[in-house]
Amino acid sequence: MDKLRLRFEKTGKAAYISHLDLLHVVQRAFLRAGTPLKYSEGFNPHAIISICVPLSVGMESLCELMDFRVTREIDLAALPGELNAVSPEGIRFIECYEPQRKAAEIKWLRCEGVYEYDALAPEISELDAFYRRGSIPVTRRTKRGEGVLELAGNVRDFELERCEAGVRLGCTVSAQEPAVNPELLVKALAQLAPELGPDFASWKRLGFYGSDMTAFR
């Protein structure tokens, strides 16, 4: 059982730790907890850790998944507690298990956004109508330059409701192929219906699913 998976939360202050820094943070937590982490062999050994689907800086998550390897049997049930005792604020490990599916099989991601409006928030029905359009092409900048991504079909199961800050929006986005950053939903408003755009939006990941919409483990 050398291949293992940890599910953890990254919330509050920890939301601002970048992907690369997080790997470092987690590696040190493992060392403090005395977990027998497996290292790559070679001239420059590094811990074999990978985060299944990298998270944008500033976004919170209740469902981060991290794959790693160990050199000997460990108590899976005890590990989250051991790690939590030596982790920074906002990083909280929930469970550790042997993976059932490969990370590449992650397809959908349930997330929740809070749209903050400083003035009056638009009608729920207006936002709902926007996201139900047959085509929502959003222009985004990627490493390869500017490109257009079609959101329709890649985001589904919208749930909208009013909240104190403005509007709370639940939705399921394609997590991989294509990877849809939920922030594109706000960008789409700015580009296609600026009158509906919030003054600020914050996002939280809730759970990963396979292509069959069963919970990913």
Binding site: V25, R32, N44, E89, F200
Partner: protein, 612 residues
């Protein structure tokens, strides 16, 4: 988290610098503490968190259960702009509370170019810059750190300065402040009382009197002020506080590793070096303490790199013992141990090879000057033979990169000395050609020069800095003389060194220029991204001071110097003697070969010996 802050954090670079929440951070309930201190470091998080002094004092003050010490760093430009735009005042990382809500605000000042950032931070905190404008007792604003050995350029802004090491002094100061606040003392009453704590310099209790030629006639102590403020030290490093549960940053910092301090002070007495004189007497930690503190810190942080710190590691008597003890713990756990500040001798090289089995970093040596004559002038006891021999061992051992650091503009320097740098670099290259086992891999020799800046409390404190034009002429001379393709030459900018020279040996009038520079937008001036020489010239002009008066003028040996009220424990007579010996190119033996009777011994309690 503040709503406005939540909105700007995703828009700035590396937001994890601004949130706190790291592992081992000390958070106290503000309702249950008696006093809160904001420990301000006038540079970005990555620099401040790499500073051992700050980590020691942060932990040390928080050891007092009823005191809470929080960290404050200067935000990078994008964040500073966003905070100003959104009216977010400067806040401390642990609680997120505005700095202005703290009882005490302390600044750590290690280098002079950070002075404008101090004013910028006060401004961002909404606190009046000048001590005289802050009439209430709270918040108390003070500064410590090495550059406060000349407190005068920052005098108008600080209520007081803590001179020397802060472990004991800061606590005594906070105790007195707590008493004053609870008893309702006025600020003036408190400052007068604080001046009686050894090591506390209250600038408002000294009045500068100038002569017609602009030099000081006197720095007159007002009633209640001591004639001399002598720096404080920690006598026994084995018994003093050391942070073995340091904060583990959640984002990359400059020196992201466990620090273990070997000793304080330096036995060498290089005449240009402020630290070599200002940190005396020499006090060592026992190897047992070094080993146990190192292991404890590695355990508590999960760091995979540890480094042994001091001004000159080779001079630590128990270096082998300490390294062996630490290696025993580190090796099986793949923790690497590094040892900066080694001297270029055989013993050091053997040790380096033992430490760096896997990742072999570059080697850096600082001969400081190109000829033996000039090295004798500055009392840098390294001979060409020793250096080349060390290079030989390094090249034979597989190293293929060496950095050599020099200063241009040292007292008595001639063109021959400048060209000597190129000659020395050539000899290093020749050594590589002769001894490298694998010449196909090539070699990289880097020569760097900076412009010599005379510093207070060093034997060269009376010297003139060479003019910027002269420094540039010498740079060009050297550039022309370095011809080999595998030798790369970098030189430090002349204008930064010129400004630093003004701030280093400035008097109270320089404070006006610092304030003008701040008002014109100066901050983070140690960063080439932000340094603006034209702005400095405009600031000097607006403040009505001539920078050359401070940077380029040789002081008479009987001149009253702005730092005359501060004693670092070393007798002025010794500094003078060393200066005169420099002009004779005469070496002084290191402290272990022969005690120079510098006077620092008197800082130690009776019966305790200096480790020199």
């Amino acid at each position: 988290m503040d709503k406005r802050l939540r909105r700007i954090l995703p828009t700035v670079q590396k937001p994890a610098r601004y949130t706190g929440g790291e592992y081992n951070e000390i958070v106290k309930d503000k309702a249950s503490v008696k006093l809160r201190m904001a420990f301000c470091f006038p540079d970005v998080y990555e620099i401040g968190m790499s500073n051992l002094g700050m980590r020691i004092l942060y932990g040390c003050i928080n050891e007092v259960p009823e005191y809470a010490c929080e960290r404050v760093f200067a935000p990078w430009g994008d964040m500073a702009e966003a905070m100003r735009r959104e009216n977010i005042p400067l806040y401390a990382l642990e609680s997120g509370d505005p700095v202005s809500e703290f009882d005490v605000i302390g600044f750590s000042l290690g280098y002079e170019m950070a002075y404008p950032t101090v004013l910028d931070m006060l401004d961002m905190a909404g606190i009046p810059l000048r001590s005289s404008e802050r009439t209430g007792l709270t918040p108390l604003v003070f500064a410590g750190g090495t550059s406060m050995c000349n407190p005068e350029p920052m005098a108008p802004f600080m209520d007081l300065m803590a001179i020397g090491e802060g472990e004991e002094l800061d606590i005594e100061l906070l105790r007195l402040f707590e008493k004053a606040r609870d008893a309702g003392w006025s600020k003036a009453e408190f400052l007068r009382e604080a001046a009686s704590i050894p090591g506390i310099y209250v600038p408002s209790l000294y009045e500068p009197v100038y002569k017609a030629d602009g030099t000081l006639a006197e720095l007159r102590p007002l009633p209640g002020a001591p004639e001399t403020v002598t720096k404080r030290i920690v006598a026994d490093l084995d018994k003093s506080y050391f942070p073995t549960k340091p904060i583990v940053p959640s984002t990359e910092i400059v020196h992201d590793r466990v620090n273990v301090e070997l000793f304080r002070g330096c036995v060498r007495g290089c005449r240009f070096c402020q630290a070599g004189y200002a940190y005396r007497p020499i006090r060592a930690r026992s190897p047992e303490t070094v080993i146990s503190q190192g292991i404890e810190s590695i355990r508590n942080t999960g760091c995979q790199e540890a480094t042994l710190l001091s001004l000159s590691s080779s001079d630590y008597r128990y270096l082998s013992e300490a390294c062996d003890g630490l290696l025993e713990y580190c090796e099986p756990r793949s923790v690497s141990l590094s040892l900066p500040s080694l001297r270029a001798d055989n013993f050091s090289m053997e040790l380096m090879s033992r430490l760096q089995k896997v990742r072999r970093g570059g080697l850096t040596f600082a001969p400081e000057a190109g000829t033996q004559r000039l090295r004798d002038v500055i009392n840098k006891n390294v001979t060409e033979e020793e250096l080349l021999n060390t290079c030989r061992i390094a090249f034979e051992g597989g190293w293929n990169g060496i950095k050599l650091y020099f200063m241009l503009g040292l007292p008595t320097e001639t063109d021959e000395d400048v060209l000597g740098i190129a000659g020395l670099a050539d000899k290093v290259l020749h050594t590589w050609r002769k001894y490298s086992p694998n010449r196909q891999r090539g070699v990289r020799i880097t020569v760097s020069t900076s412009c010599f800046i005379p510093k207070p409390h060093s034997p060269f404190q009376w010297e003139a800095q060479v003019s910027m034009d002269e420094y540039r002429r010498r740079v060009n001379l050297l550039r022309g003389a370095i011809t080999a393709r595998s030798i790369q030459y970098n030189w430090h900018d002349a204008s930064t060194s010129f400004v630093e020279a003004v701030l280093s040996r400035g008097d109270r009038r320089v404070a006006d220029a610092i304030e003008c520079a701040h008002k014109m937008g100066a901050r983070m001036e140690a960063w080439s991204d932000y340094f603006d020489f034209k702005r400095w010239l405009a600031a000097f002009d607006a403040a009505g001071i001539d920078p050359a008066f401070y940077a380029s003028r040789e002081r008479a040996e009987d001149e009253v110097l702005p730092w005359c009220r501060v004693s670092m424990g070393v007798k002025a007579g010794l500094l003078l003697r060393e200066r005169h010996r420099a002009y004779e190119a005469r070496l002084s033996p290191d402290c272990r070969a022969q005690c120079s009777a510098c006077g620092a011994l008197e800082l130690l309690p009776e019966g305790v010996k200096c480790d020199g």
